[in-house]
Symmetry: C2
DNA sequence: CTTCAATTGTTGAATATTCAATATTTTCAA
DNA sequence: TTGAAAATATTGAATATTCAACAATTGAAG
């Protein structure tokens, strides 16, 4: 049974927030070399399969609320990293695509992100990393 | 070696963000019963040892930037959940204390938070939960 | 068919967060 | 002891996020 007087550092919610904050901060630092926020990297990465993704789909995938995504996409359209196309099959929907410029940027960002993953692998270890990933995936699964 | 074309769902940074978002959303939902944001629960919990904590210390502990914490504390002071005392030993510092009202509220919040932990234990399992906590702690350690 | 509910995306106002600058106090070296 | 640098917290302006309302389209029941 969980104790209600346990220090906050023993709560799973807190540990997740703390770990996320730290890892995200590191990634942010690397991506800032290209002046791109983490969320934009996520967007480019999801779109880099070349398919069209609706805003709703994209919002889920990149962990952003709809209005926040809309405004971020507005900026990225201005920067010609992505573009909107009305879905011909369902005209309520907007399909997002990555541009050539977006693809080029995404490649550079991917390599910065991989740098970080490798840095984590070094200091944290191969075994721990893959075990942690496995557990996180299963936690996410069990929460739906 | 990490692959730069790996889907975003294989990045540790992404899995952490996703898990954190989901668990935090659930906790938020429970705490909303008392109309309190997660960060305020963290603050009350840290202060509930009865000691005075400086703003800097508190900001670290509750994972908030200094200006954000200052403004949140302003609200909590208005609600008489906490109060400020100038540190007599170092007058640059402000020591934060929890009020009696804050303590009462904190108890109710703790039990909501424990509800959630127990819900996670049920659906995710005892073993996985403690193993995940262990790995998260060690990741955080290795990142400093 | 028509109408009403549901889905999808955007907007504007309200709210919250962040960045840079500031004020105060302490530390420490000259 | 003095003066410059560091540490601490707050403020205000700029930015970002969220909430609720909206517009457009589709789906589906009558």
């Amino acid at each position: 049974m969980a104790k209600s007087n346990a220090p906050i550092t023993e709560h799973l919610a807190y540990l997740l927030a703390q770990a996320n904050r730290e890892i995200n901060r590191q990634l942010e630092l690397r991506l800032s070399k290209e002046g791109v926020p983490v969320e934009q990297w996520r967007i480019l990465k999801v779109l880099s399969d070349g398919d069209g993704h609706s805003m709703g789909e994209l919002a889920d995938a990149v962990l952003l609320n709809h209005p926040t995504l809309t405004k971020m996409i507005d900026r990225m359209v201005s920067d010609t990293l992505v573009y909107r196309v009305q879905d011909p099959n369902d005209r309520r929907k907007v399909l997002m695509f990555i541009s050539d410029r977006g693809k080029v940027l995404c490649k550079r960002l991917n390599s910065l992100a991989v740098d970080q993953e490798e840095h984590i692998l070094e200091s944290y270890g191969d075994k721990s990393t893959s075990e942690l990933k496995r557990l996180l995936e299963s936690l996410i699964d069990s929460s739906n």
